[in-house]
Symmetry: C2
Subunit: 342 residues, 2 copies
């Protein structure tokens, strides 16, 4: 057996728009040695998220990017290899839930950015999806930022995506009529058949506006917005008086190279906000890490009971991340993208 | 003395953009006779507000307009002429605070749309401004929709207007740093010298962006937005984390004939909402009439103590309203427009 190395995917250039495989390079470095109080973990699953693209820079984001030459940040699931920390033992499964464990084989942790997970209690991939930051982002928006009421109508955009599908299913658990918006028949079928939503609307269809109108006969009471652009003004047409919008992401902007294209949609949106007494809320999920346990307590039983569906698209091998990641923004298939590391 | 008649200003055409004098006609009708439980009032002051333009139709508004041929709605101050209602006696001064008393010499009321005001307690014009719906709109936004905190920075757009100047002064009373945005040196001077704001920014100046940046060195914590268009994206650049926006009006849209002109500002605004955890709130002041007394109790002492300034531009005569009203949207002078009826 050869000496193990730590393969790291480093950023070699800030992408313009959609990243290219050549914006990354895989380097081999020695496996780090844990010091006092440190834990050495070996990543087994790497989560591929829009968040990663933001960290590459040129992403119409206010979040500071990593440096060119640095190892990519990323959420992971890992196994403890060595531990000098009382809370972790070799063989423990952990979730690298702050992204610092990154796109690499091995990572060092002081214990503050990993949490132990029980592989018997839920599939390990769930910690990158429904029970990870993705699910937390959906849950915080619908629980801490706005408050859902049963019987009302919730619309979720990018509903086949990670945050969107979690938000939509939380809406179903809470007893709302949930309408998902996604692009193309495969995704809308997934929303209806796998997630059990009440209606699905295809924003790529020529009759999108009519589909939406039919799907929300009583208007929209809650909108979980993940896209941040073109579909938003149309949603506004259906918002009920005193209804609420939570902005959980602005996915479409991340790879956009011309944000201000098209007619100016802002005046009419402000008008709707004013005349319909809307509230529109942004939030930063990192301010809610203190609610992580409450979130897990709330959703884990539903995940275990098989009442929440988590579509996962698994790619094999760290080395395939640079080619697989760009698919996220080009209408790839259904479900959360995860890389499995041997 | 000739038999009194009731002059009524009726809408003869829905204006396109800014209204023209020919969109109105003055008709003379018999003075109405109050029935059981009714009050006959004679208007002495008529308030001219953006709200009136909305009621004329073609105003990019969700509020239904009046019919062509109907008497114009409008807030007034009036004197009771005859009363068959136990709460009102001839000679009482009243505020026609729901707008139904309108642009006319006389009006009938069942008592539900008028309230008695004390002419000794505050100037009668105050009931159309600081102590009327205008002031209530400012107060509700800053008291019931968001909550101001002393020492923070409040920016008010259209700060020389009725709602804006009330909002700015409420901010000063609450101990905030208040920055007013208005068009032209006369208005910015008014904001500094008469209203005592901490800074004034001229949105018509070529260096508007630099002026704003200098005026908010610690960013913006609260934005009271009255304009609803072009200045909004620039404000977003300065909003602090977790800051709040209340939309008290969309004044610039009322007479606009091409709302979607220019670059698309919506994506970047949604991005700021997301990344800075902003909340943007619309509201309908009519849902807060139950708080009218609390509002009066809060602000009246400040008005009486001369601590709130109410600039008023008085035009003489009901017959001059059709020519004076359109000035509201064409950069007229400072202060609230009021018509005095002989």
């Amino acid at each position: 057996m050869s000496t193990p190395v730590n393969r790291q995917i480093i950023l070699t250039a800030r992408p313009e728009g959609n990243p290219k495989p050549t914006d990354f390079e895989i380097v081999e470095r020695p496996v780090p040695v844990p010091g006092d109080g440190q834990v050495l973990v070996r990543n087994t699953l790497v989560s591929l998220d829009p968040f990663n693209r933001i960290l590459m820079g040129n992403a119409n984001s206010d979040q500071p990017p990593i440096e060119v030459g640095d190892t990519m940040f990323g959420f992971t699931v890992a196994v403890v290899e060595q531990s000098n920390h009382p809370d972790f033992a070799p063989g423990d499964h952990v979730s690298g839930y702050l992204g610092t464990t990154g796109w690499q084989d091995y990572a060092l942790s002081d214990g503050s950015d990993i949490r132990t997970v029980d592989p018997e209690a839920a599939p390990l991939t769930a910690h990158l999806g429904l029970l990870g930051i993705t699910g937390l982002t959906a849950w915080v928006g619908l629980t801490k930022i706005i408050s859902l009421a049963p019987g009302k109508t919730l619309v979720v955009t990018a509903a086949a995506g990670g945050v969107g599908s979690a938000a939509a299913q939380i809406g179903k658990i809470r007893g709302l009529r949930v309408v998902g918006v996604a692009g193309g028949p495969d995704k809308t079928r997934h929303l209806l058949d796998d997630l059990g939503l009440d209606a699905a609307v295809d924003y790529k269809a020529p009759d999108f506006a009519e589909q939406l109108a039919r799907a929300v006969p009583d208007g929209i009471d809650f909108l979980y917005e993940n896209v941040g652009a073109t579909q938003f003004p149309l949603m506004m047409e259906h918002m009920n008086l005193n209804s609420q919008v939570v902005v959980g992401g602005v996915m479409s902007q991340i790879t956009s190279t011309n944000l201000t294209e098209g007619a100016n949609d802002l005046p009419q949106v402000l008008r709707k906000i004013f005349y319909r007494n809307l509230s529109v809320h942004g939030f930063d999920v990192t301010q809610f890490y203190g609610d992580y346990q409450e979130f897990l307590d709330d959703l884990t039983p539903h995940v275990l009971a098989g009442k929440m569906h988590s579509a996962t698209q698994v790619i094999e091998g760290l080395e395939n991340i640079p080619t697989a990641f760009p698919q996220m923004f080009t209408g790839r298939g259904v479900g959360k993208l995860v890389a499995k590391i041997a």
